[in-house]
Amino acid sequence: MSRKNGAAGEKIPGSDPKDRAEYTPVTYDPQYILMVNELKKYFPIKGGMMSRTVGQVKAVDGVTFNLKRGTTMGLVGESGCGKTTTGRTILRLSGEKTGGQVLFNGREVYDLSNKEMRSMRTKMQIIFQDPFSSLSPRLPVGEIIGEAVREHNLVSKAEFNDYIDKVMDNCGLQPFHKERYPHEFSGGQRQRICIARALALNPEFVVCDEPVSALDVSIQAQIINLLKELQEQYKLTYLFISHDLSVVEHISDTVGVMYLGNLVEYGRTEDIFRNPLHPYTKALFSAIPVPDPNAKMNRIVLEGSIPSPANPPTGCKFHTRCANCTQRCKEEAPVQREVEPGHYVVCHLYDK
């Protein structure tokens, strides 16, 4: 792995195994398909002569949530806040984690051997953001969808073609599309191919990384409806990453709001949208444009932009842009507390 200490004796926070045990381990609860506990992922910044590690980008810095079977969790936040890294780290797609736990069906994902991980991959899939660059231009669609199915020997050779036809049909693709190449399809159709590729393996859990951001409004609606139908049909669990709050509200059961690698607020969709508590969530929601020309705008405009995750502010990470900032926010990092049942917020304002 790339996390080698360049110079001897130099200590980088998080690199020492002793530092990592900062969390209290959770025990498996069967109603949750996924339990994420204090997950951390730091990327090293290389620099200097011997390309030593000179710093760390704290992309995900202590994220905790549980995901119930058959539900959808929305993950929202500005670009660069670590939404995508969270999704990828859960799937063990970006190397080793820096700390924390990821329990998928009760098993720690990062403790699996390569062989076990390989079979686990069929259970957890991802739909990528950009349907234009995530499909190989040199493979016909049938091969794109079927490659992993054949690799994992999910169906026998005799049933293979029928199986692919069935998967494609479920995702709104025609059987004759199989011989075509991705460039012959429109954006919406390509996204359907991406969805078919993920679902062909019969997964339980799918990370949807901004699946509709690159699409037009009318196509967006088609894809969202398709995702919802498939969820009912196959009892899928989604982690839906998006920066479009109206889409998240529509599709999710629970919502997590991220800021600079932290989950600042987490709860049921109705609670979060009806009663946002964290100042950042409030600002984020007030910035959503409403399709009504006479709507009263009580907008909280955030000053400045998101600080660098390589050098995050001390105390509460949001204090540099927060309107309710106190001296305490600058010095002490807040901890997660439950304000209403099932509604968690990380902010000093809600201390009793």
Binding site: E78, V217, A221, I224, S246, F273, I288, D292, L302
Partner: protein, 387 residues
């Protein structure tokens, strides 16, 4: 293979024939545009209403491609009044950007050509028809009278020049007569401050990669405003930005518009942004305008089935629905458009007449016009004329 041919795959022979014909047409148009010393009288014109900054009148912009002629803009007419914001909405590929590029004469030539229609631009004491102007003359309009904010702030700035030099260049080219380097720098710093960049002296010396997306878009806006243009075309200026940054940029555009009293053509596919920014809204579909009116007309009384579908398919915070409406089917192939209403195949409110030729524009209120057969009857009953 047989199936592929049936779906519009061209044989080599056919493609060569098309490109030969295209070349004949485009060469002729190019020759006309490249003439030197064209008398001004040829493109001087009069505004139909002196309160308008721009009038598009029956504009046709075609692309002569090797697969056939694509009618990107096919008979588009609308006005941009002085000091107002006009929002243009539509799916990608509906011709909203091509309309604005026609106004700037920035079309991909020689394939892209304005073949018919007028674009009248109000220059204050006179008016010109941009569609007939030779290439050299348009250079004096860009920046001074019309300027553009592009969609991708990441790609529309040159990565190898400093921010200050890039803005200076705009001033030098369009408004630089008698100005020294120091004057230009002063103006550039002033512009950077105007768009809300606090560290303007520092940013002047920076390269684009040192700035965040929101900051880059601010620089692009500063560049567009450098010579106080009368018309600003904002081509999806916030699509690449986060909601919080989007709110900042929209606030900025609104306040700047009042400060320099110019008109904005706001192109986007986000209905929420349009509702917030626009006084008038134009809805485009497959190269034609299907509906236009004030923002209230469009958002409170949408008339065309496409507009209604577009509104219903966008999830809105606070409005819970079980299933989102989605417009069935897809946009027709731009090379051979049907000869009936372009939306008929996707429309769920078809009436018998829809099989006829493309519907004309019907006024359903003094400000609200729609191209749909469903409104012919209402009009006829009132005794109005269908024009």
């Amino acid at each position: 293979m047989a199936k592929r041919k049936a779906e519009g795959y061209l044989s080599g022979k056919e493609a060569r024939r098309i490109s030969r014909e295209n070349r004949k047409i485009t060469n002729e148009l190019e020759k006309k545009r490249k003439r030197k010393k064209v008398p001004e009288s040829e493109y001087l014109t009069k505004m139909h209403d002196p309160n308008n900054a721009v009038e598009f009148d029956n504009l046709h912009t075609y692309f002569f491609t090797d697969a056939g002629t694509v009618k990107s803009v096919d008979g588009v007419s609308y006005e941009v009044p002085i000091g107002k914001t006009v929002g243009v909405v539509g799916e990608s590929g509906c011709g909203k950007s091509v309309t604005s590029l026609s106004l700037m004469q920035l079309l991909q030539r020689p394939q892209g050509q304005i073949v018919e229609g007028e674009i009248r631009l109000n220059l204050g004491d006179k008016a010109v028809d941009v569609a007939k102007m030779p290439y050299e003359a348009v250079q004096h309009l860009r920046g001074n009278f019309v300027s553009m904010i592009f969609q991708e702030p990441m790609t529309s700035l040159n990565p190898v020049f400093r921010i200050g030099d890039q803005i200076n260049e705009v001033i030098e080219l369009h408004d630089g007569e008698g100005k020294s380097r120091e004057d230009m720098k002063k103006r550039t710093i002033e512009l950077l401050e105007m768009v809300g960049i606090a560290n303007s002296e520092g940013v002047y010396q920076m390269f684009p990669h040192e700035l965040s997306g929101g900051m880059r878009q601010r620089v692009c806006i500063a560049m567009a405003l450098a010579c106080n243009p009368r018309v600003i075309i904002a081509d999806e200026p916030t699509t690449a930005l986060d909601v919080t940054i989007q709110a900042q940029v929209l606030d900025l555009l609104r306040s700047l518009k009042d400060k320099i009293n110019s008109s904005i053509m706001f192109i986007t596919h986000d209905l929420g942004v349009i509702a917030e920014m626009a006084d008038y809204v134009v809805v485009m579909y497959a190269g034609r305008i299907v509906e236009k009116g004030t923002a209230e007309d469009i958002f409170y009384h949408p008339a065309h089935p496409y507009t209604i579908g577009l509104m219903a398919s966008k999830p809105v915070v606070g409005r819970q629905v079980d299933k989102l409406y989605s417009i069935p089917g897809k946009v027709p192939n731009p090379v051979n458009m049907p000869d009936y209403c372009y939306f008929k195949d996707r429309c769920e409110m078809c009436v018998e007449k829809c099989g006829g030729e493309y519907p004309c524009e019907v006024s359903i209120s003094p400000t609200h016009k729609v191209s749909c057969y469903r409104y012919y009857e209402i009009k006829n009953q009132e005794g109005g004329d269908v024009s």
